[in-house]
């Protein structure tokens, strides 16, 4: 039997149509059975997470200690007794925390106080821009976090961060941790990766606030900057606040009530 080219194309196109319909049907069925990933049911959500630290409430070393301990213990941050320390939350002097703002005649209480420092979870984070492996990335809710699996330890992020918010593990951190007493719910890091504060992203997913916020007894506020009704927005509206190195344009997400 001899077929014309036209007939051949008709049959061919019909068969392709039938085949794809069958494939599509199959795909729909298997999609219904495929495992799915969802955000946790009780997780906290925000358009833009931010922190407001009421520095007037922190004066003695003990005031800071509770928060630092809560953070470092939970996240298995080692206490290394040399200049290669690893830190997520620590304190520094006014002139180092706010170098743009030094004023010879500042009030004595402002100048002499220590200030909490941590990763600012910047709106325009230079650390994210320079990380070659995307180990450091910014989530849609504003949290700048890390996937330690991908970190190659090049330390570009440390060079990029103008706040010194990152620590490098020069040695295996487990050497400096009491492995019998660590938090078994949270991993440690390994030698050769960079680490920093994550705004307790894993706790927010469970519906809990960051540990330093809990331990601060109301002196550190945490909430959604994009919600005018949130605690942080109210605190910002009612108090005079500053941020670190505003002239750099990184738009930090950590605010200080002075």
């Amino acid at each position: 039997m001899k077929r014309s080219r036209r007939q051949f194309l008709k049959v061919a196109s019909l068969s392709v149509l039938g085949l794809s319909a069958q494939l599509a049907g199959g795909a729909i069925v298997s999609a219904a059975e495929a495992p799915a990933y969802q955000p946790n049911e009780g997780g906290l959500k925000a358009g833009r997470w931010a922190m407001v630290i009421d520095t007037r409430g922190f004066e003695t070393a003990a005031d800071f200690e509770a928060c630092i301990k809560a953070c470092h213990q939970y996240h298995n941050v080692p206490n290394i007794p040399n200049n290669q320390e690893v830190k997520w939350l620590w304190t520094d002097k006014y002139e180092y925390v706010f170098p743009d703002d030094v004023n010879e005649h500042l009030s004595e209480s402002v100048r002499s106080r220590d200030y909490f420092v941590l990763c600012n979870h910047c709106e325009n984070p230079p650390c994210v821009r320079v990380c070659p492996t995307k180990a450091t990335y910014k989530k849609p809710d504003g949290i700048v976090t890390m996937d330690y699996h991908r970190c190659i330890g090049c330390r570009f992020c440390m060079a990029g961060c103008p706040y010194g918010a990152r620590s490098f593990n020069f040695a295996n951190p487990r050497r400096y941790l009491d492995m019998g007493a660590i938090n078994a719910e949270y991993p440690t890091r390994m030698m050769g990766v960079v680490e920093k504060c994550t705004f307790c992203v894993e706790r927010l997913a469970k519906g809990q606030l960051p540990l330093c916020v809990e331990a601060s007894e109301g002196r550190i506020l945490f909430g959604d900057l994009s919600d005018p009704e949130s605690e942080v927005r109210k605190a910002l509206a009612e108090n005079f606040t500053i941020r670190r190195k505003p002239s750099l344009g990184t738009q930090p997400g950590v605010y200080y009530i002075i």
Binding site: E33, A34, P35, Y37, Q38, Y137, M190
Partner: protein, 126 residues
């Protein structure tokens, strides 16, 4: 053929080398699937055993990306059961015997994983 001597000799050497793994392994015991310690108090894994055996590494890879990048930390399995997306807090809770579960198979298959350089291995295997 030019240089027949050398060509034949070369071929023989090549064949001997190429097939040497077979000769060297001849008479040795064949591969034995290791006996693994299964969780004492759990009957089912998140997915069927065969699937887990073949795909656990891909699942863990996807779990990492979903949890860290997408913020999706709840896994709805094929059978509809719901799990927390976490190697340390879900997998290792049941598979608490790392030495007789993970290590046995990985060692037999010469696979060196470094999961436990960071993830805390369960205390169940002491």
């Amino acid at each position: 053929m030019y240089n027949t001597k050398y060509v034949i000799a070369g071929l023989v050497v090549f064949l001997a080398l190429f097939t040497s793994p077979f000769w060297l392994n001849m008479g040795k015991a064949s591969y034995q699937r290791p006996e693994l310690a299964l969780p004492a108090d759990a009957k089912e894994c998140i997915e069927p055993v065969d699937y887990m055996r073949a795909e656990h590494m891909q699942i863990l890879d996807t779990w990492r990306d979903q949890a860290l990048r997408e913020g999706k930390r709840t896994y709805v399995a094929t059978d509809g059961k719901v799990w927390n997306v976490s190697l340390q807090n879900t997998c290792m809770k049941c598979h608490a015997n790392k030495a007789d579960f993970c290590d046995k198979c990985h060692t037999t298959n010469s696979v060196n994983v470094y999961c436990w350089d960071c993830h805390v291995e369960p205390k169940g295997n002491q």
